[in-house]
């Protein structure tokens, strides 16, 4: 087709608006800026890297950028979309080449690595002067603080909880998980909800990717284990950790309440497993709640905090999706203005709500859209005992969790290592890479 005859979404919307066929009220929130005038000429471009797991995010972020561009005339944010799987790699290579974006959407566990590369700057004074500083949860600031310096804005936050099937629990007569449930209750639920003849399993355990190790660690914490001891040395190979891990691995190895695909199930595997009805529970952050509303329907699932362990403890690892500026960026002032704007109540609310993540700002998090949503209840109830992931303590641990921790964990899953052997080897990896 001749390019001259193709209309962009912007042109179509403008045409419809001009024809009176469309009112602003009928437009999706993210389409509204597309019918407004563009920014003035001469604005300094701000490069913003965003990783895209789904089309909804693309539209949303494009809209945010447009809204920011229309809100002032000095800067123009240009979004550079990259596939999520390549986001970290792209950033690393661009940092090494001296051409990073001005701002990027970055997971908090990468921030320490970028600090190690001397690629990010200390934002502490600027952030403390920012009007919304005190409205952001202290724990959220903690996720982006490295060596007492704030390096990013915590855009949205979340923690881990358990998704479970309300409709099937009723159908199979399973005891519904309660907010204060225990390891035993968890196992009983998973057993009752496992129906191999129906191709259904009680629990979708994750065996692939960094969070496979993190979820297992949360169970170890519930039995009183710690990654780092009081002396600052690695203590993850403790007796408490080994007992809890053994129990956790047995869900797959002995009790067979997990699907056989566990050793290679990453986040997509566990989310789809639940969405397709193969598993009847899984652990994840609130980020998949919106997806499950489409897959399973809101009335058929709920979320609940992780169970108490034998030590009567429990934990949920808290993390953030950050907006991180880079030292070598060319538009640092524009980058900061964009980040501060994205943290303003309206864009902050729209971004969090659309993605099912929780806002870092207290006043936004208190809105009923978050507090009254049953799909988010398990996460909000987990805040009192949430902690920042202990693996953020050393920048060198980020990559090693993936390259060495996960293969070791998989060896334990398939029975090539005992829980104790895994933890000893894993502790050795962590000890060697403390930096």
């Amino acid at each position: 087709m001749d390019e001259r005859w193709r209309l962009s979404r912007r042109q179509i919307l403008k045409g419809m608006a001009a024809a009176g066929a469309l009112t602003t009220a009928e437009l999706a929130w993210w389409d509204e800026p597309l019918i407004a005038p563009r920014r003035a000429w001469g604005a300094q471009p701000v490069r913003f890297q965003f990783s895209v797991p789904e089309p909804k995010r693309t539209a949303l972020v494009e809209s945010l950028a447009q809204r920011f561009n229309q809100s002032q005339k000095d800067f123009e944010v240009k979004v550079e979309f990259v596939p999520q799987a390549q986001a970290r790699q792209k950033l690393i290579t661009s940092i090494a080449a001296g051409t990073p974006p001005d701002v990027a959407q970055v997971w908090d566990n990468w921030v320490g690595e970028f600090d190690g590369m001397n690629a990010v700057e200390d934002l502490t004074p600027k952030v403390r002067d920012w009007s919304g500083y005190k409205d952001v949860l202290p724990l959220a600031w903690e996720t982006v603080t490295v060596k007492k310096r704030i390096l990013s804005f915590p855009w949205v936050v979340t923690n881990d909880g358990v998704y479970w099937r309300t409709d099937r629990a009723k159908e199979y007569g399973a005891k519904p998980p309660k907010d204060d449930w225990s390891f035993d209750d968890f196992l009983a639920y998973a057993k009752t909800m496992t129906k191999p003849d129906k191709n259904q399993y009680g629990f979708g355990m994750r065996g692939q990717g960094t969070w496979a190790v993190l979820y297992a660690t949360e169970f170890m914490y519930a039995n009183g284990a710690q990654v780092l001891g009081r002396d600052g040395k690695v203590a993850i190979n403790s007796k408490e950790a080994a007992e809890a891990l053994d129990w956790y691995l047995d869900l797959f190895r002995k009790h067979k309440v997990c699907p056989p695909s566990v050793p290679t199930d990453g986040w997509r595997g566990i989310v789809e497993g639940f969405g397709r009805g193969v598993t009847n529970s899984y652990i994840h952050n609130s980020g998949s709640s919106e997806e499950q509303k489409d897959f399973v329907k809101p009335e058929n699932f709920a979320t609940v905090p992780l169970p108490f362990g034998p030590a009567k403890k429990r934990s949920s690892f808290y993390f953030s999706e950050t907006l991180t500026p880079f030292k070598a960026g060319k538009a640092r002032e524009g980058g900061f203005k964009f980040m501060a704007w994205a943290m303003e109540p309206e864009p902050h609310f729209m971004y969090s709500k659309t993605l099912g993540l929780l806002p870092a700002r207290k006043t936004v998090a208190e809105r009923p859209e978050f507090t009254r949503d049953p799909a988010l209840a398990g996460f909000i109830k987990s805040f009192p005992f949430s902690i920042v992931s202990p693996y953020l303590a050393h920048a060198g641990w980020g990559g090693k969790l993936d390259s060495e921790g996960v293969p070791l964990f998989q060896q334990a899953l398939v029975g090539r290592l005992t829980a104790r052997e895994f933890l000893d080897k894993f502790a050795e990896v962590l000890s060697k890479n403390m930096s």
């Binding site: 090494a96 056989p260 695909s261 290679t264 090693k400 390259s403």
Partner: protein, 310 residues
């Protein structure tokens, strides 16, 4: 009046002889290729060798420095490297040998005349045309133990009672990814060998038939020797490609479970982009290059190059 004599003035002696000019012109024609290959092949190799002699972990810029053969010494003690090397051989020879066999059979069949041959030949190319990442995603779905098509078909056919976790079982994961690679690579051999088959003169077969040679004898004494140059080039290039081919494994298993499908090229990626250890990743690349060079030389020597047998 004195008549002026016209004297022939000697031509200025050229700076270069005719032969030298010809040689120089030839080299000038080659210059663009030399520059292009130098910039895209030689420089990166030299740079990788240089990088392999440095401690270069991106998150530890303060530790950057020359360490000589330190990375190579570390490699000797790295169990995962040795496992990945073993897996690489398994992956390469498993894939290429089966691709070759399948491709040969397909080429022989496609060489026969039958109705719709052109359409079948085009369809045969399909797996080769599809991008590697897409192939990986399709097969990952087929292998999915809970809702994948393969388990479902086997169960319906009564060949399976318990679900098989093709990619999640360490003993089955490598054969499963090899099977995918075989499916993808068969058309490459089929098309190459088919082109070779079509170039063999029919007279050779007729003469052999007149002399009383049977099907197997004609295959052994005519087809195979005539195809040898193509077989050597196709298998050598395919082996090199497969050694460096990480897409399928990266998408389907990420080298897991428990490093069961970790080959040296995926391990190199892991070192570079998970551990940000570019010095060590460069070392792995250099070792891979040396192995490939040694293999290619050995292969060409064993097969006596690509010259047809006299």
């Amino acid at each position: 009046m004195a008549r002026e004599a016209t004297l022939a003035r000697p031509l200025a002696r050229p700076l270069l002889t005719r032969r030298a000019r010809e040689v120089l012109t030839g080299y000038l024609y080659l210059l663009p290729v030399v520059i292009a290959l130098g910039a895209t092949v030689v420089v990166p190799i030299v740079r990788a060798i240089q990088m392999s002699l440095y401690r270069n972990v991106l998150i530890k810029p303060q530790e950057y420095g020359f360490i000589g053969l330190g990375n190579y010494a570390r490699l000797l003690d790295d169990d995962v490297f040795w496992l990945s090397l073993w897996n690489s051989f398994y992956w390469v020879f498993g894939s290429v040998s089966l691709q070759f066999l399948g491709g040969f059979v397909a080429a022989l069949l496609l060489h026969q005349s039958f109705q719709g041959r052109a359409a079948v030949r085009t369809l045969t190319l399909l797996p080769w045309i599809i991008p590697g990442v897409v192939v990986a995603l399709i097969w990952e779905y087929l292998y999915q133990p809970n809702y994948g098509a393969l388990n479902d078909l086997l169960a319906r056919a009564g060949l399976m009672t318990d679900k098989v976790a093709w990619l999640s079982n360490p003993s089955l994961a490598m054969p499963a990814v090899i099977a995918t690679n075989v499916w993808r690579g068969v058309p490459f051999f089929a098309i190459m060998l088919l082109a070779g088959l079509q170039a063999i003169a029919d007279e050779l077969y007729e003469a052999a038939r007149v002399d009383g040679a049977g099907v197997l004898e004609r295959f052994w004494h005519i087809t195979l020797p005539m195809l040898r140059p193509i077989i050597v080039v196709a298998t050598a290039t395919r082996i090199i490609w497969t050694f460096n081919y990480a897409d399928l494994i990266f998408v389907m298993t990420s080298g897991g479970p428990a490093n069961a499908t970790q080959i040296t090229s995926t391990y190199t990626l892991l070192q570079a982009y998970s551990n940000l250890d570019f010095g060590y990743a460069a070392t792995l690349s250099v070792v891979l290059l040396l192995i490939m060079l040694a293999f290619t030389l050995l292969y060409l020597r064993v097969t006596r190059g690509v010259e047809p047998v006299a």
